[in-house]
């Protein structure tokens, strides 16, 4: 009898242990319990993409011997999905997490899952960063700060000097910027290039659309989370402009990141790209035949916008909010932003960096020796604000984009396509 009971108890205990292990498995990654050395704090830091934060973290560890930072870097989508899941489950989130600006809004609905950085001393560093960048790290009311700014993606005009020359246009960045000083001038230059060279001016209808869209104060959604797609909305203006450029034959069919697009960048099969600062890094690595053939000029202020960039936030699950904050404040300080810029091309959001000699004179071999950093810095300062994006920005964006692609590829009626896309967007919003 006793033997059986023993076996039964043992068995149940094993099962229970198994169950508990299964339930708390996600916690194993957190070594916050500091079971190791006395007073040592381990901070888990989740990043994505190539940031070089690993090296900076080591530097910080040297200065602060009681802090250990475990950096885990993953692919962009995986990173945000994993973070979303752990925040949703309420366990397993890191102490520090990087958030991409386009993914940010789906996390902002969960204000209670993050630390308010204003409570940890963020007010003192506010002035160091571009105002618009800082603001979109806040909640709508402006009293809660989710994350400190890292890099930004100011948009500029990348143009092929060989095609511009062939079209009888100036190629010097300053002259080009002076020539293309309005959306109308953009169109006229486009017409001239296409007429003279036979190449499309912009690569894709998406980029033509994003010209106005990225600069819009209110894009698809209002801060009250309602669709803003009326006849006089900024999105409709962007849509009409893209359709108009397409009617004029200025728009190519090279979808960004496709092999055909990469080939076209390399060979110069379109003349202009409205790209953010980070596109430079891609070009340097992937367009070997185009060395010296692209230059960068500022865009007309109507098109001045930001595309991409990140923040670093502190999920409230952490036990060491202050230590985590101190680390990120150090990590995104202007000195370290300059380091990240030099090593990994992360464009700084701290204005002080723009005045640094090392930043201003950073010549780019790829762009034929042009120092492009000041162009992007100027573009960054032209931006007046970032439009509110909202949780369902991308699903709605895809619907409108599909409409534009149907217009371009199937010759569909733009107004009908617009109405159908708006209808589908309305359906999406009900979910």
């Amino acid at each position: 009898m006793k033997g059986i009971r023993k076996i039964a108890v043992l068995g149940l205990a094993t099962l229970l242990a198994f169950l508990l292990a299964a339930c708390s498995g996600s916690d194993d990654g957190d070594t916050n319990d500091a079971s190791g050395e006395k007073g040592e704090i381990t901070l888990d830091f989740w990043t994505f993409g190539a940031t070089g934060y690993e090296e900076l973290a080591k530097e910080y560890e040297k200065e602060n011997p009681n802090i250990k930072i475990k950096v885990k870097s993953s692919e962009t989508a995986d990173h945000h999905d994993a973070l979303f899941t752990s925040l949703s489950a309420g366990s397993g989130a890191p102490d520090i997490a990087m958030l991409e600006i386009d993914q940010f809004d789906r996390f902002k609905v969960a204000q209670d899952r993050f630390e308010n950085l204003y409570n940890l001393g963020a007010n003192d560093v506010k002035d160091q960063y571009l105002e618009w960048k800082w603001q979109s790290g806040e909640n709508v009311d402006g009293d809660f700060l989710f994350g400190l700014p890292t890099d930004i993606g100011p948009k500029a005009l990348y143009y092929r000097t060989d095609l511009f020359e062939q079209a009888g246009l100036p190629t010097d960045p300053e002259e080009v910027a002076a020539l293309i000083d309005s959306p109308e001038a953009f169109e006229e230059v486009g017409l001239q290039v296409t007429e003279e060279t036979g190449m499309p001016f912009v690569d894709s209808i998406e980029m033509a659309f994003r010209a106005y869209l990225d600069a819009a104060e209110t894009a698809y959604l209002t801060p009250e989370n309602e669709l803003n797609l009326g006849g006089d909305s900024e999105v409709k203006k962007a849509y009409d402009y893209a359709v108009h450029l397409n009617d004029l034959g200025l728009v190519g069919k090279y979808e960004m990141w496709s092999p055909e697009w990469a080939n076209a960048v390399n060979k110069g099969e379109f003349a202009a790209e409205l790209g953010a600062g980070w596109l430079k890094g891609w070009m340097e690595g992937n367009a070997p035949e185009a060395v010296g053939k692209w230059n960068v000029a500022t865009l007309p202020t109507e098109f001045a916008a930001n595309w991409g960039g990140s923040y670093i936030a502190v999920p409230s699950e952490t036990e060491y909010a202050q230590e985590a904050y101190d680390f990120i404040e150090w990590l995104v300080s202007s000195e370290n932003q300059l380091k990240s810029f030099q090593s990994h091309g992360l464009f700084p959001s701290a204005q002080a960096v723009y005045e640094e000699e090392a930043f201003k004179t950073n010549e780019d071999e790829f762009f034929g020796g042009q120092a492009t950093a000041p162009v992007f810095a100027e573009a960054a300062q032209d931006i007046t604000g970032i439009g509110y994006k909202g949780e369902k920005y991308f699903p709605v964006h895809n619907e409108i984009l599909n409409a534009l692609k149907n217009v371009q590829n199937k010759g569909a009626d733009p107004e009908k396509e617009w109405d159908a896309a708006v209808k589908r967007a309305e359906d999406l919003m009900k979910r």
């Binding site: 059986i4 068995g11 169950l19 299964a22 949703s88 969960a110 599909n402």
Partner: protein
Amino acid sequence: MNSIRKKEPIFKKKRFRSEEKKDMISGYLYIAPFFIIFTLIGLYPALFSFYLAFQKWNGLSPMTFNGFGNFQLVLTDPLFWKSVYNTIIMGVMGTAPQLIVGLILAYLLNMAFLKFKSFFRVTIFMPYLTSMVAVALIFSVLFSNHESSLANYVLTHLFGLDPISWAASEWGTKIAISLMVFWRWVGYNTIIYLAGIQSIPNDLYEAATVDGANKFQQLWYITIPMMKPFIILTVFTSTVGAMQLFSEPTVFLGADAFTRDEAMTIVMYLYRDAFRLQSFGTASATAIILLVIITLFAVINLRLVQGFGRKKRGVQK
């Protein structure tokens, strides 16, 4: 209970405890791991999903009760019906030929005069062992939109037809994905059929040969009727598999998978709701609708196959 127990002799009660109960406990312990794991990763999510189907939830904010609103949203969404249509069309194009070809291949593989039998059996089964992602990636290269892709090259140079944009046209996408499903699964069904054919006693064929039946008659009147249980099994699994088609189109279409509707299946629609639109309520409602559809198809299938077997037997008489 008490009154019954009192009537039983004491020694019997003891025996029951010491031996049968011992067996019982160890029995339960042996099967417990399955039930615990099943409860955690099978039953609990299923029940939770049922609960979610009536809630509005974005994964982070608190849930709100939505009644049948989610079902209404899904059932009135034209994209949902498009996904049902796509799933059925690709299911028919991808699996129906599979079963017929599988049966023929199994019959051929079992022929007495065939040389290198094991070689053919292994080769036919190989696609099933290949990684799904690798298959989809290779097919997406073979069937790319580009005019010089292999599929378009064959079309234009051998048949003199116009090139097709395989990843963006209504039928091109469906054909490419159905072909991929067919190629990957036909070997699996062939092996099941082969096992079935080998289980048919040889005397039936001997008797038929004596009676003067030719090979085709033997296939039609002996092999197929005797294979009924195997056919039911494959039809059943293939139908359920076809209804849950997901990875093939997703990998094949890559970045466009959840923005275009040409090859969006029901499960992709569900996935899009949950992980692209952060709408776990409607995604769960879709899952329940899918459950109903699969059950419906399974019942229809079973009826059809059973009817077909009965008729064959009638003819035989």
